[in-house]
Structure formats: structure tokens, C-alpha cells
């Protein structure tokens, strides 16, 4: 899966019709074409995102109702080729193990119902993957590092909860301590930051609220205050930003919107205007979605735009799980709910 941006641009392609629609087939073709772009230097320069890219592309395809559009066996083989003997995954073969890619690996395998392939064909089995993730928790603070070099970020804590719960191995970590750490990242506006003391940021709010949701501790969230702050992320053009006084960006259609969904406040923004904004960011000819109209499309903004539309109940899309950003049908199967 290539992370190369373009070739399309948000807002381009033909004349703008009165009523914008989601160009499902174009997006499917766009995602399918990504791995054929090995003659572009950018394909190689973005190799450090490859496994995330597979997760983004695959999830987008599932939500679009085309789960078969990527070959299942090749997907599994690629994922397993990124694994290290300690259980962790790198972005691509030869890249170091890191939480971010380990989580994508687990999410991909869960999505294509192939978690058991870890035990069958992986360099380390499912239990070992869980142990790798658990080894990154700081037993003193409850926080999680991204890898052995020690960067701390609530993204990694959420990633750990996300992947471990998908593997049914959440018991390997100290959940209450991690929850306390998330609380320590809380701010006066009801939001959360990257670490204690850090400013609220919609991306980090998603990770912290998501972690609390997995831990069953949403009671700790100040829903009205956080909901108020999140709802003010919507700008007059319908798009959402990630912090006060910043530009709108399609990826916040996911981070902000799903955080609102998790605290039952999704109706606090104008869903119709957000829908229109996301649709305007599509390239109607070549497929793909950009951060905002006029910019280059990429698979990251494509999945989060589509996931946002799914959350808004856009017709024809598969339902998305607000915590996991995976098809709801799949998380329902895994958690039996």
C-alpha cells in the first residue's frame, strides 16, 4: 500500500454537480492502485507508514462495502513479513518494531479474520505480540512507550488497549494505572493531551476517550465540557479543526466526531455541513480524499473522511466502530456483542 499523495486533488474532477455524492468506485480503484506506484520516489520515502497504510486502505474498502478489493492472502503475508521475533511489528520489512505498526498489524489481521495466522505462520504468536505491547507499559506511571527508546504518548496507550483488547489480552497490562495516567493528561477544557501538562488536541482526545471506553471508564469524562470544546471545532465551512484557531482538516472528521460519538454528543455539530465538506474534498475523477479542497489526496485522509461519513450515517456505507475505527460488523464478531 503506497502512502504517496495524489495523483488526484480534493475538489477536482469534472464540473461540480449541485449535489455531491460519494464516488465509491473511484475510491476503491484509487486504493487498489496505490501499490502499483513503485516507480515514484515518494512510494519509497513513505515506506515508514506502509503497514499503517494497509490498515487505512483496507478499512476504507470495508466501509465502502468492498472488503474483497485487496487480496486477503497477500495482505496477511505482507503483515507477517513486518513482524520481529519479539512479537512487535515494523512499518515494513527491515523497519524496527514499534507500537504504531503493531497495532495496525493486529487491526488488519482482525479485520480479515486471520489473527490465528500469528500462531500458525508468524515469527511470534499472538501471546507474544501481547507481551511485546505489555512490555512497553511503565509500571510506575501506567503510561506506554512507542518502542524501546522510550517516547511516551497517549497514542501508544490507546494503541495498546486497542490491540490487546482485539487479542483478548488486556489482562496483560495494568488497566487502572493506565486509566489514572489518562486522567493525569486531562485539562480544564475537558480535553486531553499527549502527556500530563500538554494542551488538549482532538487527536489525543480520541485516543484518551477511546482508551477510557475500552476500559469501561467513560464515567470519568466531563461530557458537557468536553462536548462543548469539541463542538467548537466546527468551522463555518462545515469542516472540523483539531485545536482552537487552527485550519479545518478532513482527518478531524474522525478524531473529533468519534470522540463526540463516544460521549453521546455527535448531534452537537452540524452533520449535514460536515458531510458536504468531506464530499468536497474528494477527487471525483481519480478517487481519494484530501485534507481540504484543493490539496492532494492520500489514503490517510481517504479513510478518515469515509469513516466520518459512516459515523454520520451516510447512505450505502458500512457502520464503523467509533472506538476502533474498524467495521462494526467485525468488532461485533470479535467481542460477541
Amino acid at each position: 500500500m503506497s502512502l504517496v499523495s495524489g495523483p488526484g486533488r480534493g475538489g477536482s474532477g469534472g464540473s461540480v454537480p449541485d449535489e455531491l455524492k460519494l464516488v465509491v468506485d473511484r475510491h476503491v480503484k484509487y486504493i487498489q492502485s496505490l501499490d502499483t506506484r513503485q516507480d515514484e520516489l515518494e512510494y519509497w520515502l513513505t515506506e515508514h507508514l506502509r503497514l499503517n497504510g494497509v490498515y487505512w486502505g483496507l478499512t476504507a474498502l470495508h466501509l465502502l462495502g468492498h472488503p474483497e478489493a485487496l487480496p486477503r492472502d497477500a495482505t496477511i503475508d505482507f503483515v507477517l513479513s513486518c513482524q520481529h521475533e519479539n512479537g512487535g511489528f515494523g512499518a515494513a520489512p527491515g523497519h524496527d518494531a514499534h507500537m504504531l505498526y503493531t497495532v495496525s498489524a493486529v487491526q488488519i489481521l482482525a479485520t480479515v479474520d486471520a489473527v490465528e495466522e500469528l500462531d500458525r505462520k508468524g515469527k511470534a504468536g499472538g501471546e507474544k505480540v501481547g507481551e511485546y505491547i505489555a512490555s512497553l507499559q511503565d509500571p510506575m506511571t501506567g503510561s506506554f512507550a512507542g518502542d524501546e527508546w522510550g517516547e511516551i504518548d497517549t497514542r501508544f496507550l490507546f494503541g495498546a488497549f486497542n490491540a490487546l483488547s482485539l487479542l483478548h489480552l488486556l489482562s496483560l497490562v495494568d488497566v487502572p494505572k493506565a486509566v489514572a495516567h489518562v486522567q493525569g493528561c486531562g485539562n480544564f477544557d475537558g480535553g486531553y493531551g499527549v502527556s500530563p501538562g500538554a494542551e488538549s488536541h482532538a487527536g489525543q482526545i480520541y485516543t484518551c476517550v477511546g482508551a477510557l471506553a475500552i476500559a469501561g471508564r467513560l464515567d470519568l469524562v466531563d461530557r458537557d465540557r468536553l462536548g462543548g470544546w469539541l463542538s467548537e471545532r466546527q468551522l463555518p465551512n462545515g469542516g472540523l479543526n483539531g485545536r482552537p484557531e487552527k485550519l479545518e482538516d478532513v482527518c478531524y472528521s474522525w478524531w473529533v466526531l468519534t470522540s463526540l460519538a463516544m460521549i453521546d454528543r455527535i448531534h452537537w455539530i452540524d452533520g449535514e455541513k460536515l458531510t458536504q465538506f468531506i464530499l468536497q474534498c474528494q477527487d471525483l475523477d481519480k478517487g481519494g480524499i484530501a485534507d481540504r479542497p484543493g490539496d492532494m489526496v492520500d489514503v490517510f485522509h481517504t479513510v478518515f473522511g469515509i469513516a466520518g461519513l459512516s459515523l454520520l450515517g451516510f447512505p450505502g456505507l458500512q457502520a464503523v466502530d467509533p472506538i476502533y475505527c474498524m467495521p462494526k460488523a467485525i468488532t461485533s464478531r470479535i467481542f460477541g456483542r
Binding site: 513513505t46 515508514h48 527508546w149 455541513k273
Partner: protein, 362 residues
């Protein structure tokens, strides 16, 4: 990811010659990656390998594995430098200082060019942590001290860069840590940092990052001063004056209103315990709320189209009712405020509908 890549960039190679050039670049790049990986596999932690990673990271600073490779090389060089080779410690420390300083200089232009690249900031912090480990406190402290200036520089280029603010916080924590005190005592930069937020706010009121940081520093300032109730009230009054002046200057600025909301929490029994004046009496809280309602109402004159004013007046009225059992103004006035708010802010119409329902508003 490719945030904000504008129209016109990333144009596909058009001619056969362009395509050839692109393929050559790919070949060069992959060759460089290959040779770095190979050398690390063979544990060739040498200056030559370091130079190759320099070349590669300048080409692609997002390649996190290469930063890790570089850490392995640096750790090797630094531990060799402080080894027991019979040389005077001073010399090897000087050598270590030079190695770390060179490395910090190498990073500088990359940070300028890619100010949002997580891996560069992390690598820099890791390197400084090594300096704490390998150098005596005085020399280590000097390096960390310079980083405070760097954080200021980066924030002067982009006053909202959260990497910059986070970096600054980490540097301050390090400078306050016992490891970096030559006499083992603790020092604190809390007041200096508080003044820094004032400076940033005075430069640009609309800096939510600075207001946020301020909210985190105030409890520390007060604790350090061992402020009593009177001192806390004085501090609170000064903050209220500051935000009033700011709101008069920029009543459409949401950063200011969020900070105002934060200050108002001081009077809310639900939040007061964590506020800067936790032990105000109920009567004192009510006095403050009354004063604040008056001040915000004054702002309404000539700014009838500012939704934030109505929002604030409504929440202050709810707080007033919670403290006193009655509304500060007639319920029809509050109903009018909700109407205006809903009219001015249609994007959040459902939020205001929920508010109306919760108020049991007429």
C-alpha cells in the same frame, strides 16, 4: 501524512527523461538505505556509518528506523568516550560534549525544515538524556539550558507548535530535576515559565497554547509561594482583570472564552477544589459571579452579534442559580439569550436545543 500539500505540487514526471531521473533517484535512495541497514547489521558503529545516516536522514527524516540506528552508533561512541582507557575524565568529557554538541547542531536545520516531525524532536530529547547520563551535572545543565532558548526560538516561528510547547515542558522538567543540580538542591523555573506565557499572550492574545500552559502553571506558582487565602484571591483578581482586558480586545476569540470558562470554575462547587482559590465561601463565590455577569453584560453593548457573550451569560446564570437557588435575571431574559445564541450559532443548534431542554427554558 501529507497535510496541506497544495495544488500544483507532486506533479507526475512527464517526459521519458524525467521518468529516468526519478528511477535513478529511487535507485540511489534504495542503495543508501541498503548500505545503512547492512552496516548496522554488522555492528559497524563507525563515523562512516554515522555519515551515511546523516545523508539518509537529511533526505528522509521520517525514517524512524534510521534514527534508531543513529542512537546505536551514538551510544557506542559515547560509551567508548567515557570508557576506562586511563585518560583523564576531563578529556573524555570534553570529547563527549563535542560529540553531543555536533549532533545537536546537525539536528537544528532539520527541525527548522520539518518542525512537526515527531522523530526529530524525540531523537533530540534522547540525546540530551544521554548527556545527563554521560556528563557531569554542570556540563549537562549547560546543554539543557540552551534548549530552553531553542524552544523559545521554535515557538517564535510558530507559537502554536505543540511539539515546541511539549519540548519546552520537558526541558524545564529536566532543568528542575535533581540530576542536573550541581549542588544536589532543587531549583524551579515555574515563575519564569509563567512570565513566558504572559509574554506570549501579550504578543498574541489568540494563543490557546499559552493560555493552556498558564492554567497548568498557576497552581504550581501558588504552591511555591505557599500562598494563603488572601494571596490566592489577589492572584485570582489579577487573572480576572487580565482576561477582562483580553475579552474587550477580542470578544470573538474562543481561546479567551475557554480561559474565562476555566477561571469561572473557581466559583463552581463542582470544580473549585482544583482551582486557584479552592476555599472561597459560598457568599464570596456568589459575589464574584454577580460581578462577572455585570461585566459580561456590559460587553454586550455594541457586540450583540457575539455568540460567546450569550453563552457565557447563560452558564454564569446557571452557576448563580446553583449557588443561590434563584436566577440572577428574569427567566425571560435567559430565554432571550438562548434564542440569540441559537440564532447566531446554527452549526451547534442541537447543543443549544439540549441547553434549552436542560434549563426548562420558556
Amino acid at each position: 501524512m501529507s497535510h496541506g500539500i497544495p495544488r500544483g505540487s507532486g506533479v507526475q514526471p512527464a517526459t521519458a527523461e524525467d521518468r529516468q531521473k526519478e528511477l535513478q533517484k529511487i535507485k540511489d535512495y534504495k542503495g543508501l538505505v541498503e548500505s545503512v541497514h547492512l552496516r548496522i547489521q554488522e555492528r559497524q558503529y563507525t563515523i562512516d556509518t554515522l555519515d551515511l545516516t546523516t545523508k539518509l536522514l537529511r533526505w528522509n527524516p521520517e525514517f524512524y528506523t534510521i534514527w534508531n540506528h543513529r542512537r546505536l552508533i551514538m551510544r557506542h561512541i559515547l560509551s567508548a568516550g567515557s570508557g576506562e582507557d586511563g585518560q583523564g575524565f576531563k578529556t573524555s568529557h570534553d570529547a563527549s560534549v563535542n560529540i553531543i554538541s555536533d549532533e545537536l547542531s546537525f539536528l537544528l536545520p532539520l527541525m527548522r525544515k520539518y518542525p512537526k516531525c515527531y522523530w526529530i524532536w524525540n531523537y533530540r530529547l534522547w540525546l540530551l538524556e544521554q548527556s545527563t547520563h554521560y556528563l557531569p551535572a554542570v556540563a549537562g545543565r549547560q546543554l539543557w539550558q540552551q534548549e530552553l532558548a531553542l524552544a523559545s526560538k521554535m515557538l517564535s516561528l510558530d507559537s502554536r507548535n505543540f511539539h515546541g510547547w511539549g519540548y519546552r515542558r520537558t526541558v524545564v522538567n529536566a532543568l528542575e530535576s535533581p540530576e542536573l543540580q550541581s549542588d544536589g538542591s532543587a531549583s524551579t523555573l515555574t515563575e519564569q515559565e509563567f512570565d513566558y506565557t504572559t509574554k506570549m499572550i501579550n504578543t498574541n492574545l489568540s494563543n490557546f497554547s499559552a493560555w493552556h500552559t498558564r492554567s497548568k502553571l498557576i497552581p504550581k506558582v501558588l504552591t511555591k509561594k505557599q500562598a494563603d487565602k488572601v494571596a490566592r484571591r489577589k492572584f485570582l483578581d489579577e487573572e480576572l482583570e487580565l482576561i477582562q482586558r483580553a475579552l474587550w480586545a477580542g470578544s470573538e476569540d474562543q481561546s479567551l472564552w475557554f480561559y474565562h470558562q476555566n477561571l469561572m470554575s473557581t466559583f463552581d462547587p463542582k470544580y473549585a477544589a482544583d482551582s486557584m482559590a479552592p476555599d472561597l465561601s459560598g457568599e464570596e463565590r456568589l459575589e464574584y459571579v454577580t460581578q462577572e455577569i455585570g461585566r459580561i453584560q456590559e460587553m454586550l453593548d455594541g457586540a450583540e452579534d457575539c455568540k460567546w457573550i450569550y453563552q457565557s451569560l447563560i452558564s454564569l446564570s446557571i452557576l448563580y442559580k446553583c449557588l443561590s437557588g434563584k436566577w440572577p435575571v428574569g427567566q425571560s431574559v435567559i430565554g432571550h439569550w438562548v434564542d440569540e445564541l441559537a440564532k447566531l450559532d446554527p452549526l451547534r443548534a442541537n447543543r443549544w436545543a439540549d441547553l434549552r431542554r436542560d434549563l426548562g427554558a420558556p
